[in-house]
C-alpha cells in the first residue's frame, strides 16, 4: 500500500468517517463560521481524503481555524461530518512531537488575568499533544 | 387441609362442582397421587401436604370435557400452567372452580433419601399447617430429622412467588421459599467450555430411558398426539433404537415448549433417572428474557408468546457466537 493511501486510511480510522458518503452538497461549508479563514474549506477536506492528499491537509491552516463548534457535524445530511476529519488531521499533526501549533514560550504573552482555565485546557488539547 | 376438605364438601353438596381434583394418600407417606373425588365421603382419602408436588393443571384438559364444574386445587406455581392452558384453548375456565391452595415449598423424597434416611415409616412436619422447620421422620431404624428446606424440590428454591395468578378462592397461607437464583445453574453451564458442556449433557442424557414420564407430566406437552408418536416427521425407520428422535428428544421437546413452558419443574421432579431436564427449558427462558424482553409464560392469558412474536430489530442468530 502506498504511503498516501495509508495516510488516508489512517485519517478515516481516527475520525470514523466514511468520506464516500459525501454527496458534495456543500452544507458544511455553508455552515462553517470560520470558512473565510480557511485555506482548505470544510467540504474540500472530504475530497482531499478521497484523493489521498492528506499531506496538504496536515499542512493546512484550516486545522487551527476550526472551532470544533460541530455545526457541520450537526447539519451534514449524509453523516459525513467534516469536522471529524479536520480534528483527525489535527490529531495526526499534534501526535508527532515538535509539530505543535502552540509553543510553550509563546504562552505567557497570550494570557490575561480573566482568561478561564477552560480556555487554556481546551487550547492545549487542540494544539498540543 | 381440613379447611380445604370442608370447603370441598360444601361445594360438592351445594352442587357448585361435580367433582374435586386433588391428591389422595398413596401407599407410602411420601407418594400422594392426583385423584378425583366425586362424593363427600370419598374426601376422607384427600390429602394435601408437602409431598403434593404434582401440578394438577394438565388434568383439567380432560376434566374440561366432563359434565359440570371440577374443583381443582392449584398451588401458586400451578396457576401459571393453568393460565397458559387457557391461552392455548386447552382448558375451559368455566369448567373449573379453582381453589388457590397455600404452599410452603414441596418436598423431594430423593433429597431425603440422599441424606441417608432409609426405611421411612412416617413423616411429621410435612403438613401445610405445620410451622416446624424440621421434618421428623420415623424409620425402621429410629427417628431421624431433616431440615424442611434441605428436603425441598429444586424448583421451590427458585420459587416464582406466592401469588396465585388465577383462582376463585384461596385457602391457606404460602411461605417464601426462594433462596436461590433461577438462572444460576444455566449461567454456570453457559460459562463452561464446549467440551465440558457436551460432557455434562452427554452424561445426563445418557441416563434417559425414554419412559416419557417428563412428557406425560408436562402441562405444555399436552398435544393430542405427540410428534414423536406420529409419522409426520419420520420417513421410515420407526423402530430403530438409534433413531432421530431418540437423540434429539429432549432438545426437540424443549423447543416445542419454548415460550410456553412456565418452568413448573414437573419434568425434573418426575424423572426416574434424576435428569435435570428443567435446565433445557430454563435455558430457553433465559435466552428469551435476555433477547426479547422478560417473559413469563402463564403470567396472563392473552399476551403474545415470544415465538409467535417479533420486532424489526431482534437480535440476529449470530449473536449466539458473539455472546461467547
Amino acid at each position: 500500500m502506498s504511503e498516501k493511501k495509508k495516510q488516508a486510511e489512517l485519517i478515516e480510522e481516527i475520525s470514523g468517517v466514511n468520506p464516500l458518503k459525501c454527496m458534495k452538497c456543500g452544507k458544511c461549508s455553508a455552515t462553517c463560521p470560520s470558512y473565510n479563514e480557511m485555506d482548505i474549506k470544510p467540504h474540500q477536506f472530504v475530497s482531499y481524503v478521497i484523493n489521498e492528499d492528506v499531506e496538504s491537509l496536515v499542512n493546512s491552516e484550516s486545522l487551527w481555524k476550526c472551532l470544533s463548534c460541530f455545526a457541520c457535524v450537526e447539519r451534514c445530511p449524509r453523516d459525513v461530518k467534516p469536522g471529524k476529519l479536520i480534528d483527525a488531521a489535527r490529531q495526526m499533526v499534534v501526535r508527532q512531537r515538535g509539530q505543535a501549533y502552540l509553543s510553550p514560550d509563546e504562552i505567557p504573552e497570550l494570557l490575561d488575568p480573566e482568561l478561564p482555565q477552560q480556555l487554556l485546557v481546551s487550547a492545549f488539547r487542540r494544539y498540543r499533544r | 387441609m381440613q379447611e380445604l376438605i370442608n370447603r370441598a364438601k360444601e361445594l360438592l353438596d351445594n352442587g357448585t362442582v361435580a367433582r374435586v381434583l386433588g391428591w389422595k394418600a398413596g401407599d407410602l407417606p411420601y407418594d400422594p397421587e392426583p385423584a378425583y373425588f366425586e362424593t363427600a365421603e370419598s374426601l376422607k382419602d384427600f390429602v394435601y401436604n408437602g409431598f403434593c408436588g404434582a401440578n394438577l393443571s394438565k388434568y383439567m384438559i380432560e376434566a374440561s370435557k366432563l359434565e359440570g364444574k371440577t374443583l381443582v386445587c392449584l398451588k401458586p406455581c400451578d396457576t401459571y400452567s393453568f393460565n397458559q392452558l387457557i391461552k392455548e384453548h386447552r382448558v375451559d375456565r368455566e369448567k373449573a372452580y379453582i381453589i388457590g391452595v397455600g404452599c410452603k415449598g414441596k418436598l423431594d423424597i430423593e433429597k431425603i433419601r440422599n441424606q441417608g434416611v432409609k426405611g421411612i415409616e412416617s413423616i411429621e412436619g410435612a403438613e401445610i399447617t405445620d410451622e416446624a422447620d424440621m421434618l421428623k421422620i420415623q424409620t425402621i431404624y429410629g427417628e431421624r430429622s431433616v431440615a424442611y428446606a434441605d428436603a425441598m424440590l429444586e424448583r421451590c428454591h427458585v420459587c416464582k412467588g406466592k401469588e396465585h395468578k388465577i383462582f376463585d378462592e384461596q385457602i391457606g397461607e404460602s411461605k417464601e421459599t426462594k433462596d436461590g437464583e433461577r438462572f444460576d445453574e444455566v449461567s454456570r453451564i453457559e460459562k463452561l467450555s464446549p467440551e465440558e458442556k457436551f460432557a455434562f449433557f452427554q452424561k445426563e442424557l445418557s441416563k434417559c430411558i425414554r419412559c416419557n414420564a417428563c412428557r406425560n407430566v408436562c402441562p405444555a406437552c399436552s398435544c393430542r398426539k405427540c410428534v414423536f408418536d406420529s409419522n409426520k416427521f419420520d420417513s421410515s425407520q420407526k423402530a430403530n433404537v438409534d433413531s432421530f428422535e431418540e437423540k434429539m428428544f429432549h432438545i426437540i421437546r424443549a423447543f416445542h415448549v419454548a415460550g410456553r413452558c412456565t418452568d413448573c419443574g414437573e419434568c425434573s421432579r418426575v424423572c426416574p433417572q434424576g435428569i435435570p431436564l428443567h435446565l433445557f427449558n430454563r435455558k430457553f427462558i433465559k435466552d428469551i428474557d435476555e433477547l426479547y424482553g422478560e417473559y413469563q409464560a402463564g403470567d396472563d392469558t392473552d399476551s403474545k408468546a415470544p415465538l409467535t412474536n417479533y420486532t424489526f430489530d431482534d437480535a440476529e442468530p449470530s449473536i449466539v457466537g458473539k455472546r461467547g
Binding site: E13, I14, L67, A71, E114, P116, Q118, L119, V121 | -
Partner: protein, 275 residues
C-alpha cells in the same frame, strides 16, 4: 433529592460565582449538589478521535463515582457537560471504547454508561419544572429583556447531547420566562463565540462575538446569559458591543433571593485564593 455534582476546574477558580450561585439556588430549590470526591479535569474538549481513550478516563471516573452512589450527575459548565455526556455516550454505545476504558479502570463492576448526566438547566426543566421554579421566585426580574446565548457545546451534536432542539432551542428562554424576565430570541444564539481560538486568533473570535452581540441587541436584548465561562470570557473580551453577559445561575440566585448571601461568600473565597 441529591445529585452528584461535577463542577469542573474553571468553576473552582475564574468562574467561582457560576458555581456558588448554582449551589445556593439548588439549596433554595430543595435539592443538593454533592461534589464528587477527587474529580479531575474533563479536558475541556471532547477528544473526537475514535482511538482516544486516556483523555476520556477522568470523565469515566466521575461518571462511575455517580453510579456507585446511584445518583444522577449534574454539571453546570457547558464544556464539562459536553465532554461528560459524550464520553458517557461512548461508554454506552461504543463497544471498543467501553472495553478499553474499563480495561484501564479495573473497576469491580465495569462502567457501561449507567449514569444519567444532567445539566443544571435540565434539572430545572425536567426535575424541578419551570412552573415550580416560577412559584419559588421571590424577585421576579420583571421588565428585563434577556437573550439566551447557548453557544455550541450545550447543543451539538444534538443526538448525543439530547439537550434541546439544536437549531431552535428553548430551554433557556423558558428559564428566562420562569424567573420573570422576557426572553429575546435571536438567530445567532446557537452560533459559536470562537471558543478556544481566542487564545491565538483574537480577530476571528472578535468577528464572531460581534455577530452574536449585534444580533442580540438588534432583536432588543439588554443582557445575555450563558452557562459557559469561555463564552462569557469571549463575549466580554472580544465584542465591541458592551451588552452585559452574566451566568444564568446569577440571575437564578437573584430571582430566588439568595444572591446577596452567596455574593459575600464568593468574595471571601476570592480573597483567600488571592492571599
Amino acid at each position: 433529592m441529591k445529585y452528584s455534582y461535577y463542577p469542573g476546574c474553571t468553576l473552582r477558580t475564574k468562574a467561582k460565582d457560576l458555581d456558588d450561585y448554582a449551589r445556593a439556588s439548588a439549596k433554595a430549590l430543595g435539592f443538593e449538589l454533592e461534589e464528587i470526591e477527587d474529580w479531575q479535569c474533563c479536558g475541556g474538549v471532547y477528544p473526537l478521535g475514535t482511538d482516544e481513550i486516556a483523555n476520556k478516563l477522568s470523565c469515566v471516573r466521575a461518571l462511575n463515582a455517580a453510579k456507585e452512589k446511584e445518583q444522577e450527575l449534574v454539571t453546570v459548565c457547558s464544556a464539562c457537560h459536553h465532554v461528560m455526556k459524550r464520553v458517557n455516550d461512548d461508554m454506552r454505545n461504543v463497544e471498543d471504547i467501553r472495553t478499553r476504558a474499563n480495561n484501564y479502570m479495573e473497576l469491580d463492576e465495569p462502567y457501561q454508561g449507567e449514569t444519567e448526566v444532567l445539566h443544571f438547566l435540565e434539572v430545572l426543566r425536567d426535575k424541578v419544572g419551570f412552573d415550580e421554579l416560577a412559584k419559588k421566585v421571590v424577585n421576579p426580574l420583571k421588565g428585563q429583556k434577556i437573550g439566551a446565548y447557548y453557544g455550541c457545546l450545550l447543543l451539538r451534536p444534538g443526538k448525543i447531547l439530547a439537550f434541546d432542539n439544536p437549531e431552535n432551542p428553548k430551554i433557556m428562554e423558558d428559564f428566562i420566562r420562569a424567573i420573570g424576565a422576557e426572553p429575546v430570541i435571536y438567530p445567532y444564539r446557537n452560533e459559536c463565540c470562537g471558543g478556544y481560538i481566542s487564545l491565538k486568533e483574537k480577530d476571528m473570535a472578535k468577528g464572531m462575538c460581534d455577530k452574536i452581540t449585534e444580533s442580540a441587541e438588534g432583536f432588543g436584548a439588554d443582557m445575555l446569559i450563558t452557562a459557559c465561562p469561555l463564552c462569557m470570557y469571549n463575549l466580554n473580551k472580544s465584542s465591541k458591543k458592551e451588552i452585559p453577559v452574566v451566568y444564568f445561575t446569577e440571575l437564578l440566585a437573584e430571582a430566588l433571593g439568595v444572591k446577596e448571601a452567596c455574593a459575600g461568600a464568593a468574595g471571601e473565597d476570592e480573597k483567600e485564593v488571592q492571599a
